[in-house]
Symmetry: C2
């Protein structure tokens, strides 16, 4: 019954499609993982997330050992049909580190000039002037 | 100043890293796009999203023609440092179709038996019985 639905999706050269996992209630983005057709079918059949591990090259049922399974509430696909958004109710932390989301590291928190204090703004101006000199 | 931050990130064999774009206020997931180092540096430098188009094989500044630019509020990276979560304030619809999010198609809205009406549940049981017979 699902093959019809999967036919329109684009899987990459490795047979994978990226799946964004989002908490259905809090809207927090939990993980970016990958599915192949088999894991997507298992996800649809069981109502829990199954992924394909690129490092181990095998299917994995999220939470099978930890108990932190993810119950699928809805699956969406994007305008190019080459990525998925899977909304879930998570039975525990999504990340193997114990963090709720895998995205717990901040690369850059950008402030607009309006949100900066004067000292911070002065530091930024000085830094940019310095960078310009180096060009 | 940014090379230090980017050094820890893992780009794939094509030099790309997937970037989940999320509305910073509504938490709606808008797009999954790809960045290379150059587009990520431009994103950090300008505070607006720049991507790498895999089909056109070129950088693109989101919203440059449509005006629907995305102002970056925060960038996070995941536990494997091989995907990004970019929280933005969007100046217009994220999708080229005019939809607010690229994820406007539903693959499957799954209901638990508790949430189903009796008719729906009976139909599902009948369908599964039918599928089993075909095996």
């Amino acid at each position: 019954m699902y093959n019809q639905q999967l036919r329109g999706l684009t899987f990459d050269q490795q047979g994978l499609i990226p799946a964004i996992i989002q908490d259905d209630e809090t809207k927090e983005v939990l993980t970016l993982a990958y599915m192949n057709k088999e894991s997507l079918n298992k996800t649809l059949d069981t109502g829990e997330t199954w992924f394909f591990s690129r490092t181990r090259q095998e299917l994995w049922h999220k939470g099978e050992t930890s108990g932190n399974r993810q119950l699928v509430k809805e699956i969406r696909f994007d305008c190019d049909a080459d990525s998925l958004l899977v909304k879930v109710k998570s039975l525990g932390p999504a990340c193997h580190t114990g963090e709720n989301s895998c995205f717990y590291n901040t690369l850059e928190a950008r402030n607009t000039p309006e949100e900066m204090g004067l000292n911070e703004l002065a530091a930024l101006i000085s830094e940019r002037r310095h960078e310009t000199k180096e060009d």
